[in-house]
Symmetry: C2
Subunit: 472 residues, 2 copies
């Protein structure tokens, strides 16, 4: 029985702003030992899947590759790259077509969102194998979570009686209002829909054809026009946009008859908002979860995390049940009871075009990262890191000169037709209009401070002449 983990890495996680941003979304958030994404990949691997299919936005492929350098070396990752987000039905359809074609129609797909937290992999694997056995019997399986509160953020699954055993599903129901959720809990007949599934490629493709033929046929057209590039499948942008924006629950699960629920016997969180992040941290005796240096007086039930350019202390005085998340360009102070409204903050900032909704304080590039330390009229100071072997594109700028001071590692700096080895404490000057290139030729990370001077300092003043990452 071939098992393949399919990791859906699409969630934006706007409720987790300012840590989660469009260019550095929730799956990349570190919670515990590693990012949620890496944990999801390792979880899939633990089910016996050496092949992992990741469906993600093509914008995030470099960041994902960087993140997965830390994954077990026996894992083979295949990237299914979406030009735009199109909900779970198209994503699962394309992943299923890839599995069908590559590993055969009877491949058991374990579908895992990349932004869930499941601390106990062993318990998960036991459940997953149970689900896989049901999937081989042509069932469409969903993992159900025993509800502990009348959540309105989840869909629900109705069965005869909630128990610890797998059973056929009577009905899927959409996210309820609070009163309905409370009534569901009272009946003892409902699970939360976890969004984790298990089925064979053939079963889900058959079900899609039967219950959502439009999704099935448009996805087939998109897949048939895909181009493969090593470990990645790319799609045609225009064709991709013709697929309906529809969830797998609505497209298939609510309509199919061969659906089963496997009740989760593992701890699970969808890390949907800041209180859930707090719950995932060890708390002190008064319920505080501090992921940073905090001086707390008369403070209880509060969560604090900081991401800053230097060492920063936080003082909390006489407060209760707050979430404080600090980054260099945005600070959130929210009451836990209002944490869902962080999404509205992001909407407001987006409408203003505020960069903090899109770019993280440290921006990832295929070659490394950059962070802006200071920007004022006429100049900008960045800290740039380049991974070993990494190389920025050969480029020039119309409107700015640049000074590079290497502070760690070894750089080869090309300026015009000349090349210079540049070591810590040494600097290079790149005049406006001069072509240049930066390469890490050492075995450690290269760190340099860049001072840009000029009348215009936008990221778009960059003319690429050559690039290792296909960005010319």
């Amino acid at each position: 029985m071939k098992i393949v983990a399919v990791v859906l890495s699409g969630g934006a996680g706007t409720r987790l702003w300012p840590a989660s941003r469009q260019a550095h979304p929730k799956p990349f958030m570190r919670l515990g030992e590693s990012s949620l994404l890496l944990q999801a990949v390792q979880r899939g691997h633990a089910c016996g899947s050496d092949d992992v299919v990741i469906v993600t936005n093509q914008e995030h492929v470099h960041l994902t590759r960087t993140e997965l350098k830390q994954a077990s070396p026996s894992i083979r990752v295949h990237y299914v790259l979406e030009p735009v987000g199109r909900n779970t039905a198209p994503a699962i359809a394309l992943a299923a077509m890839h599995c069908d074609k590559t590993y055969g129609p009877d491949t058991v797909m374990v579908v895992l969102p990349a932004d869930h937290l499941i601390p106990d992999n062993e318990a998960f694997v036991a459940n997953a194998l149970e689900a896989a056995a049901l999937a081989r019997e042509k069932n469409l399986v969903v993992f159900g979570i025993g509800p502990t509160s009348p959540e309105t953020a989840f869909g629900y699954i109705e069965v005869e009686h909630v128990s610890r055993k797998s059973q056929p599903i009577l009905k899927f129901v959409e996210k309820p209002d609070l009163a309905t959720a409370q009534s569901y809990l009272a009946t003892g007949r409902f699970y939360w829909n976890s969004g984790m599934f298990c089925f064979t490629a053939r079963s889900i493709l058959d079900a899609l054809s039967q219950h959502s033929p439009e999704t099935a046929s448009s996805a087939r057209r998109v897949f048939d026009h895909a181009s493969s590039n090593g470990d990645a499948t790319h799609f045609d942008n225009a064709l991709f946009g013709t697929m309906p924006d529809i969830s797998i629950d609505y497209a298939v699960m609510e309509r199919a008859r061969n659906t089963w629920v496997v009740p989760a016997r593992f701890g699970w969180s969808d890390v949907g908002s800041w209180p859930a992040v707090a719950d995932a941290h060890p708390a002190d005796s008064v319920g505080n979860t501090f992921a940073t240096d905090v001086v707390a007086l008369d403070t209880t039930g509060s969560h604090v995390q900081v991401e800053s350019h230097g060492t920063k202390v936080v003082a909390m005085v006489g407060v209760k049940d707050l979430v404080v998340v600090d980054t260099p360009d945005a600070l959130l102070v929210a009451h836990k009871a209002s944490a869902q409204n962080v999404k509205r903050v992001v909407d407001i900032l987006k409408s203003r075009g505020h960069a903090s909704t899109h770019l993280p304080a440290s921006v990832h590039r295929p070659w490394g990262t950059y962070a802006t330390l200071k920007e004022e009229e006429g100049y900008k100071v960045k800290r740039i890191t380049v991974s070993p072997g990494g190389s920025l594109s050969l480029q020039y700028h119309h409107h700015r000169s640049e000074h590079w001071v290497v502070v760690q590692g070894s750089a080869r700096v090309q300026i015009g037709e000349r090349e210079f080895l540049t070591e810590p404490g040494q600097s290079r000057y790149i005049p406006k209009g001069e072509k240049h290139r930066l390469t890490n030729v050492g075995s450690d990370e290269l760190v340099l401070i860049e001072v840009q001077c000029g009348s215009y300092l936008g990221e778009d003043d960059i003319v690429r002449l050559a690039d290792c990452y296909g960005r010319v």
Copy 2:
């Protein structure tokens, strides 16, 4: 009648951390148009005093001079520089001796703490002239504030009946507990003691001799051994330390019989803690006072201010009556009701040796300022500003090299025996151990980015060979 304003610039303002710090204390905090210190000097000037005496710690003289460049040009400032803080009685004694000697014994001194907020100068002046008339009649006058709440942070002044007219004082009482303060308010016989005084130099010196002869004689000894250096009086450190640490209230006012109160007919705040700072800002319809870019949802009665290296947005969600003060190296989140406890935070951080209690994010020097943008193993990045005509000392470092990139203004850079004019977009390299000097030769502020590289980057690795500000 010669009037001289005496500004006592000694308050640490630890309750206003992290905006107020030992090297950048409360008088330098900007509230409204300018710093509290500048406002106090202008207030004294408005009373008809062209001569202003500032008693302050010698550590703050450069910062004070820089701040007072914005004062009315007709003001002549004299600096009485304390090597250590020694409470108000010694400070007033030394200021009185200076006034006695320089302007004559009948000089009327208007004593103003540098960290109070009085928005209406005109109303203040009318009161001050009334106080000056009483002072000429050999009275010791204190400004009393009509109490609006049972404050426990102030001393109280008892009279026959609180009214809008000046009257003799029956009794000074020390800071009461809450119950006592409440009973004071109920009687209608008490003012708050504002800490602002008015008397002639002769009256207060006589009163000191009579009621606190030890203070008078030790201050006389300190003053007789003082050295004058242009507009500043310096004292012998060891002698200075022999003066008692005693307030003018305790040393004189509580014991003297010729004390009068002038009731303040002006708005007044001692800006004692963050809620007082909030009160000094215009509030929106739900009581928020935002001194920065804030997105607020369901948030009331809260104060937010930010001091950062770039533009930073703050989101407040579902909170009430909070104070949020953000700086690059420290963030405070406090409930207004607990704002007095910020002092305890500072005590805790001091005991840990945390820099945020001492140095501000932007450190003032006689030649300008510096701020650390980033510090990691092996390097440090600073933003340095130099005022027009300003010049750093001729210096060298044992353990670090430096790169200077000029981003605004014009610099003359001496390296070894050579000098280089350096303009925006140009850089200079100073090898480890090489003597160097930076001078602003333009008419605008000079701004440069410094990248230090080396194994040790402490501020104490500086060997000064020559200095315009007497720091060799």
